[in-house]
């Protein structure tokens, strides 16, 4: 957990909820280990989401982040371990 009290689980839950909203499906249907490319989420929607995430956590994500960390689980870990801890 970071100083701000945000841990991997809270980031993951946030992402799951946002994906569910944009895909218009229940959150239970979002597999955190599924590759982003396998969600039927247009790249434009993913970028809109990334901007929202940056604002929430006050971090800057590289354009390649969702490419290097291609699942909700991996991206959550990256955000907490690499971005929020610095």
């Amino acid at each position: 957990m970071t100083d701000s009290g945000i841990d991997q689980q809270s980031v993951q839950t946030w992402l799951v909820d946002k994906f569910a909203m944009r895909l218009e499906v229940p959150a239970e249907q979002i597999d955190v280990n599924m590759q982003f490319s396998d969600f039927n989420l247009a790249s434009v929607e993913a970028l809109l989401l990334a901007g929202e995430l940056e604002k929430w956590l006050n971090v800057e994500m590289q354009p390649t982040s969702m490419w290097y960390f291609p699942t909700i689980h991996e991206l959550s870990n990256h955000i907490v371990d690499d971005l929020l801890s610095h």
Partner: protein, 306 residues
Amino acid sequence: MKAEKFSAVFEVNTSTHAQETIVCLHPGGVSSKHYNALVDSPNAQLLVVELSLLPQYQLTMTSHEENTLKYSMDDIVNEVYSQLQKYLNKTCQKVTIIGWSFGGVLGYALADRLTIPCQLVALDSIAPLKQNQHCTEQVAPSIVYKWFIEFISAVKACELIIETPYSSYTQDEFVAMVFEHGLAQGIFKQFDTLNGVNKLFETFALGLKRNMLLSARFFPKPQPDLNILVIRSHSGLQEISAYPNCIGWSKLSSNVHIVNVEKDHYALFTDTTSLATIYGAISVFSQLRLRRTNGLLNKISRLFNK
């Protein structure tokens, strides 16, 4: 590096004994699913290359501040060539490369690299010439703003109408205006945010800059015998005054034909009428034998430029 596990090549249509392969080089922006309509050519193998999955493309530039490119056109074409080798049928005797925008420039480089006879469809793509360099090295913010509006309209399948003059706006002012108008016109949803639209614009501008720098620093030799079909949008990204019709391709090949379609650079991919014209032109073009066939080229002209 995790990126290495990705393959950028997707075999959309498998035809084991096909003698022709269609390779679509897709630089991103709009969905590559539009190429799927090409599977109407059942006798051709169809491969789509998602350039965004290539490390050499994706990591070429990750910051606006830098003007140096981590990778060159040669690096990218070598990677595409290498990945294609795993997919190309042994029976393949002809490759039709379809490249939209930057994909057309990369397609020209790939045609030179492949040993199998090729032809190129340059889909609203500006030829990589020194004379065009000024058009691709630096672009005014107001032009990027215009392209972004066209891009949003295409990917959201709804024209974003902005009547306010915005050419003197700062980036922040412009993005805020796009967000406001997009929300009012139902293009953005209530749960979308200004930060999200800002991220979208930043990434759009970064990708544009990368593609322009790669093109501006690539000076290929002519391939006089390469058949090139240039498909031009109603209003391309740049007007090339020196070559108003062929966008410069006739300087690289003596076998160039031009087809015009309605709609802009982005909408030509999402508009059904434009797509029908494009697929029709490609269908006729792919029947070309790999030598000069002016009769057939004239037929294309009559069909699509009435």
